[in-house]
Amino acid sequence: MTGSLLATLARAWRNPSGRAGILMLAALALAALLAPALLPDPAAMNLELGPVAPSADHVFGTDRLGRDLLSRVAHGARVSLSVAGLAVTLSLSLGVSIGVVAGLAGGWVDTLLMRFVDALLAIPRLFILLLLLAVWDQVPLSALILIIGLTGWFVTARLVRGEVLRLRAEGFVEAATALGAGPLRTIFRHLVPNTLGVILVAATLGVGEVILLEAGVSFLGVGVRPPTPSWGGMVFDARSFNTSAPWMVFFPGAAIVITVLAMNLVSDALRAAFDPRSA
């Protein structure tokens, strides 16, 4: 499986859009890593300076408090990417666990879980988030990650359950059991690796979705709050300066577009690499 996984990744890399996405992500990760070393303090204010347009001194300009926008956008990458990464990891773990349980258990456990998932899928995720976030005046970052992560497993659970049912129908579980594998070994050595395609595609799509959601709730004022730099929060902050200092809105938003686009490109390339027929 690991061999074919590498081969799949190589196929995704040979796809020009996939490669563009991977390179964009690498550049973003690099910016996020190097930001503290190379760029000025994102919280350093210069009230006399105020908002100035992009120039040689401040490549992305400064915000209303005279803070360097390039530095804030780069530091925002750390916040946005780590929120998305952690939340999606949580969602995937939950989704895979619940999907495997439902698919293996079958019967009323499966029916009950899937009815519940149906109901959760019917509520637009944004509304679940808004209801959960509205009670906080200032939601702690850890709680935000937890809330986003806990609301993102429904689709994955459904997909993984479907894959498990397919593998079961192919006699996969029986074969593993016949070879003497216990239930845990069957799950972790045989089932999960074979659903890896579904999981990877869901992960890349999920990160893009979560970045948009985090930006969205921050824009509505219930997500990441100042002074923590997040892209959505920066747009929220800049909103009333939209016409007088449009660069304050433009750059954090452009960072979101690039990240989400890169994730979707990689996701498409992975899907095509896993299933060459669908391309």
């Binding site: 859009s17 009815r115 519940f116 149906d118 109901a119 959760l120 899928l121 019917a122 509520i123 637009p124 944004l126 509304f127 679940i128 808004l130 209801l131 959960l132 509205a134 009670v135 906080w136 893009g208 948009l212 930006a215 969205g216 824009f219 509505l220 004022g221 219930v222 959505g232 747009v235 909103r239 939209n242 016409t243 449009p246 809105v249 433009f250 938003g253 979101i256 577009v257 690039i258 990240t259 989400v260 686009l261 979707n264 490109l265």
Partner: protein
């Protein structure tokens, strides 16, 4: 067919019941209470707090609150708005329906004309540079936060170029004796930017569905046969192939129904469009739980109804799927 529909509707009803329970307890399970925000500036006297709690039923245990909520729900009574007190939630919501429908219809029109046309255009040129670049452009639009695109369009088109209004539903400067046509034109001008924003961020889905479906159909033998008979390519594509490739796109309607009902929270907020999505954004800002709850219930209902309609379209157009 009828038995199938009855079963499908029963299933959706059960799901909606679970949705209602989940939404209620989502709202109640979290720390803090809806009146907390009123304490922000200066603490409320206890007597006043008790009076307000009684009005919104917050003095009751959760199960009693749930019972009351359900009782109101079946009678179409969703309680009283906190932000627009003493207006009923029902009336606040009702006043927002028409603008939402208007925006949703406009977006659907763009999606099903321009989106479908682009999908067909790309399918006919699949693999060529123009196809790849159109896909990339559409994906870029799909990656944009709608509020960001909206703000950028306001800064550029409304403020810099002064071409269109920056927001709202009608112009406050419109003369009181303006004719019906003038009023219509005014609303139309306000509609353009929100529609453009929502279309840019959604059109990738329509074009992708249409492109994939048409490529599939163009491979079939009967299309080759039509070509072999010497028909012009445009006729082969539109008259022979496209009809059979329209079906997956029609089922997308189920996916778009929520946009039609609740509009877009972000776009309506940015453009001050007085629809249901904008209402949800206002409700979150003022922590107006009853209103937020109502919009969430409406949005979920639209999702479920969209699912039923999609399945219905499948069964209607291809009766073999009924068994599934």
């Amino acid at each position: 067919m009828l038995a199938w529909l009855a079963r499908r509707l029963a299933l959706a009803t059960v799901t909606y019941a679970v949705v209602t329970v989940v939404l209620f307890f989502l709202m109640r399970a979290t720390p803090g209470d809806p009146l907390q925000r009123l304490d922000d500036d200066r603490p409320m006297p206890p007597a006043e707090r008790e009076r307000l709690e009684a009005i919104f039923g917050l003095d009751q245990p959760p199960l009693v609150q749930f019972q009351r909520f359900l009782g109101g729900l079946v009678q179409g009574d969703l309680g009283t708005s906190i932000e627009f007190y003493p207006l009923k939630v029902r009336d606040v919501v009702a006043s927002r329906v028409v603008p939402s429908l208007l925006l949703g219809t406009a977006v659907l029109l763009v999606n099903f004309t321009l989106g479908v046309w682009l999908g067909v255009f790309q399918a006919r040129r699949r693999g060529k540079a123009v196809d790849r670049w159109l896909t990339r452009i559409a994906l870029t639009g799909y990656a944009m936060p709608s509020f960001w695109l909206g703000l950028m369009l306001v800064a550029l088109v409304a403020v810099e170029w002064r071409l269109l209004p920056a927001g709202g539903f009608t112009s406050p400067l419109l003369r009181a004796d303006a004719s019906f046509a003038e009023r219509g034109l005014d609303v139309l001008r306000h509609l353009i930017l929100p529609t453009l924003t929502l279309s840019v961020v959604t059109i990738a889905v329509t074009t992708r569905y249409q492109r994939t479906a048409l490529i599939e159909v163009l491979r079939r033998d009967y299309v080759q046969a039509a070509r072999a008979r010497g028909l012009r390519e445009a006729r082969v594509v539109w008259r022979h192939a496209w009809r059979n490739a329209l079906f997956p796109v029609l089922t997308l309607f189920g996916l778009w129904l929520p946009i039609l009902v609740t509009g877009s929270v972000f776009v309506e907020e940015v453009f001050a469009w007085p629809g249901l999505g904008g209402l949800a954004a206002t409700a979150i800002g003022s922590r107006d739980y009853p209103v937020l709850m109502a919009t969430a219930l409406l949005a979920s209902g639209a999702v479920l109804l969209g699912g039923v309609l999609t399945d219905l379209a499948y069964v209607w157009l291809d009766p073999r799927t009924q068994s599934a």
